[in-house]
C-alpha cells in the first residue's frame, strides 16, 4: 500500500497525537483533548486506540491486538489486519513478545514489562459522564478535584445493594489527583492498572487521550468499611485450570450447561501447551 503513509496517518497528525500522549503522560489520569481524525473504521470500533497505536508504532514494533481478551475476535482481527496492511509490522498473539498491545475490555493476565505499551480503546473517557452530562461541567469538576458526586453515587450503591454495583469501568483515582475511567475492563482487572508498562487510553469519538505512566499509583475508589473487591466467577478455568484469571461463561448445550474458560486466550493456550 503506497497510497497511505506508514500506519495510515500522516506524520503531522501523528505528531499532534504524540503531543497529546506526552501531555497525558505528564499529567497522569488527565483527559487531554486531541483532534481525533476520521478513521476507516467506525467510531466505537476502536478509532481512539487505533490512532494512539498508529502514533506509537515504529517499523521495528511487534503488535498484538485483543478484544475481550482474545486475539481471534472479529474486531481484533480487523484492527490487526489494518496495521499489517498499512504498517507492514510484525504481529503476534503472544503477550510477552508484543511491544505494543491494543486492547478492548481486558488487561492481559501475563504481567507487562517496561518495554511494552498497552493501548486501550475507550468508548466514554469521562468517568463522571453518567452523573453529569455536560462536558463543560465535568471538566470543571476535574479541575477543582470535585468528586463528591462520585462518592455519593458509590455510597448510594452500598445503601441500596449492600455493595458498589459497578462490575466494569470501575472508576479509579490516579496519583491522588484525577478520577479516571479504566475503560470497560471488568473490575477484576483494576489491580493490574498499576503496571510496569506505559498505558495509553484513546477515545476517538470523544477526542480524548489519557495515560497511566509506568509504576503510577492507581487506586480503585472505595470506602474503608467497604474495601474494593476485584471479584470473579468462583471457578477454575475448565481448560487450563487457572484459578486466578478472568473467566468467560460459555453455554455449551440447549439445556443451559455452562463452563468457565479463561478470557485471555493466549494465557490459557500457553498453560494448556505447557501441561500437555
Amino acid at each position: 500500500m503506497t497510497e497511505y503513509n506508514f500506519a495510515y496517518l500522516d506524520e503531522q497528525t501523528k505528531r499532534m497525537i504524540r503531543r497529546a500522549i506526552l501531555k497525558g503522560v505528564a499529567v497522569p489520569g488527565y483527559q487531554v483533548p486531541f483532534a481525533s481524525r476520521e478513521m476507516p473504521m467506525p467510531y466505537g470500533w476502536g478509532t481512539g486506540g487505533v490512532q494512539v497505536s498508529a502514533a506509537c508504532l515504529t517499523p521495528e514494533d511487534t503488535l498484538k491486538v485483543i478484544d475481550q481478551g482474545a486475539d481471534d475476535t472479529t474486531n481484533a482481527v480487523s484492527i490487526r489486519k489494518f496495521f499489517e496492511k498499512t504498517a507492514q509490522i510484525a504481529v503476534t498473539e503472544k503477550t510477552a513478545e508484543a511491544t505494543i498491545i491494543q486492547t478492548r475490555h481486558r488487561i492481559p493476565e501475563t504481567l507487562l514489562t517496561e518495554d511494552q505499551i498497552l493501548v486501550y480503546q475507550v468508548p466514554m473517557p469521562e468517568p463522571l459522564r453518567f452523573l453529569e452530562p455536560s462536558e463543560v461541567e465535568t471538566r470543571k469538576m476535574h479541575a477543582l478535584q470535585d468528586y463528591g458526586l462520585m462518592h455519593v453515587k458509590l455510597y448510594e450503591d452500598i445503601a441500596r445493594h449492600g455493595e458498589i454495583a459497578t462490575a466494569y469501568s470501575y472508576p479509579v483515582m490516579v496519583e491522588d489527583r484525577y478520577v479516571m475511567s479504566p475503560s470497560p475492563i471488568p473490575k477484576f482487572d483494576n489491580p493490574k492498572l498499576e503496571s510496569a508498562a506505559l498505558q495509553l487510553f484513546g477515545a476517538g469519538r470523544e477526542q480524548r487521550i489519557y495515560a497511566v505512566p509506568p509504576h503510577t499509583r492507581v487506586v480503585s475508589l472505595d470506602f474503608e468499611d467497604h474495601p474494593f473487591d476485584p471479584s470473579k466467577a468462583p471457578h477454575p478455568c475448565a481448560l487450563c485450570g487457572a484459578e486466578d484469571t478472568y473467566l468467560d461463561e460459555v453455554i455449551t448445550d440447549d439445556a443451559g450447561t455452562r463452563m468457565f474458560v479463561c478470557s485471555d486466550t493466549d494465557y490459557c493456550g500457553a498453560r494448556c501447551e505447557a501441561a500437555a
Binding site: D67, R104, H105, A165, L239
Partner: protein
C-alpha cells in the same frame, strides 16, 4: 471437549465477499455507473458531500454506489477519505451575492430586486407517483429558459440592514477554528457551531429546528431568503501573487429574519439565523438557520428555556451521524467480558436478597 471459538479472520473475508455480491445485485440488471448516480441522484450526492464535508460529486457518487445507497455509510466513506487529504491552503470566502442562482425566493417580500426565482423545486408538485418514469428512456421536455440575471443578486437582509432594522453579523475571527483539525471545545463560537451544523446529520438538524417551531426554544423565523446556485471558489496562489478560480460549487444558502430583541440601550431589531450547505438542500439550510438562531440565545440576551436546541453541548455533540452511528452500532461488538462481570454481580445481589427474604420469613 470445548474449544474456544476460532475463525474470525475467515468469517470476515467471507462476509466481505458476500457483501460485494449483494452490492452488485442481480447480474442480469445493468450496473449503475458513477455518472448515472451523479446526474440522476444529485440530491443524494449533495447530502453526502455536505455531511462528508468534501465537495466532489464524483467521489460522493462512488461512495453512494459502494455503500449500496446507505447515505450515512457513504458520508462515512467520504469522511475517511477526506481525512487523509493534505491541506495546501484555504480559499477566499465564497461570495454568495455573486451566486448564479437557479432558485432564489423570499418569504418576507412579495417582490424584490432580482425577483423571485422558483427554480427546480418539489414545492408545488403533487406527490403522485409518476408511472411514466417507470418506462425508461423518455427525456422530459426541456423547460423554457429565462436569460440568467444580470450582475449580483442583492441579499434580502441587506435591504433590512440599510434601515438598521436587522442586526449586523458580528465580525468573527479571520480564520475560523476547524472542527476537523481541532478537538471540539467550549464555549463554541458561532463559526464553529455553523461548521458543526453544516456537516451535521440532516435528520437531526431538521428535528432540532422543528422542535424550536413547536415551542422548545421558539425564535419566530421568517425565511428572509433562500438561494441555490453555483459560486466560484478562488484561492490565492503565493507563487503567482494573485487569486485564481479553482472551480465552482453548488450551494444552498438560507438567511432567516427572526424575532426582534430590544433593550434599554438598543431599539428593537430583527435578528438573524444562517444556513449554508453544499449542494441543493433547502431542508438542511433552513433547519441549520433555525438551530443557529436558537443557539444564539446567550449573545442575544435571551432566556435559556432549557430547550434542547438551545443547549450547544447537546446539539454539537449529537449532530454528527458518523459519530452517532459508530457508537450506536458498536454495541453489537462482543461485550461478553463486561456482561460476564454484570452476570456475576446480579447473581450475587440476588442471592443476598433472597437470603435476606428467607431470614425475614424465618424470623
Amino acid at each position: 471437549m470445548y474449544v474456544a471459538v476460532k475463525g474470525g479472520e475467515r468469517a470476515i473475508d467471507n462476509a466481505h465477499a458476500w457483501l460485494a455480491e449483494d452490492r452488485r445485485g442481480d447480474l442480469g440488471v445493468a450496473e449503475l455507473s458513477i455518472a448515472q448516480i451523479r446526474e440522476q441522484l444529485a440530491l443524494a450526492v449533495g447530502r453526502v458531500m455536505a455531511e462528508g464535508s468534501l465537495y466532489d460529486p464524483d467521489l460522493a457518487a462512488l461512495a453512494i454506489k459502494q455503500a449500496r445507497g446507505d447515505l450515512i455509510e457513504a458520508v462515512f466513506l467520504i469522511r475517511a477519505y477526506r481525512t487523509t487529504l493534505p491541506r495546501f491552503g484555504a480559499s477566499h470566502p465564497v461570495d454568495t451575492a455573486a451566486m448564479a442562482c437557479d432558485r432564489r425566493i423570499s418569504a418576507t417580500f412579495k417582490d424584490l430586486p432580482g425577483g423571485q426565482i422558483l427554480g427546480p423545486t418539489f414545492d408545488y408538485t403533487h406527490r403522485l407517483l409518476d408511472f411514466t418514469l417507470a418506462a425508461e428512456g423518455l427525456a422530459p421536455p426541456a423547460p423554457p429558459m429565462a436569460p440568467p440575471a444580470e450582475g449580483d443578486l442583492p441579499h434580502v437582509t441587506g435591504f433590512l440592514a440599510r434601515e438598521d432594522l436587522i442586526q449586523s453579523n458580528p465580525d468573527g475571527p479571520d480564520t475560523p477554528r476547524d472542527l476537523t483539525r481541532e478537538p471540539l471545545d467550549f464555549p463554541a463560537d458561532r463559526p464553529l457551531r455553523l461548521q458543526a451544523l453544516a456537516r451535521g446529520d440532516e435528520g437531526f438538524v431538521l428535528s432540532m429546528a422543528y422542535s424550536t417551531q413547536r415551542g422548545y426554544g421558539k425564535n419566530h423565523p421568517f425565511v428572509g431568503e433562500l438561494r441555490i446556485g453555483s459560486v466560484p471558489v478562488e484561492m490565492d496562489i503565493p507563487e503567482l501573487g494573485f487569486a485564481i478560480e479553482l472551480g465552482e460549487m453548488v450551494l444552498t444558502e438560507c438567511e432567516t429574519v427572526n424575532q426582534f430583541t430590544g433593550s434599554k440601550t438598543e431599539p428593537p431589531q430583527f435578528t438573524r439565523g444562517y444556513g449554508l450547505v453544499f449542494g441543493q438542500s433547502e431542508r438542511k439550510a433552513i433547519s441549520m438557520a433555525l438551530v443557529d438562531r436558537a443557539l444564539r440565545w446567550e449573545e442575544l440576551g435571551e432566556d435559556n428555556e432549557g430547550a434542547p436546541a438551545q443547549d450547544v453541548e447537546f446539539v454539537l455533540y449529537h449532530a454528527d451521524n458518523v459519530q452517532a452511528t459508530g457508537f450506536l452500532e458498536h454495541i453489537k461488538l462482543p461485550h461478553y467480558v463486561d456482561f460476564q462481570s454484570e452476570l456475576e454481580l446480579i447473581r450475587r445481589l440476588r442471592a443476598e436478597a433472597m437470603q435476606a427474604t428467607r431470614q425475614e420469613a424465618a424470623e
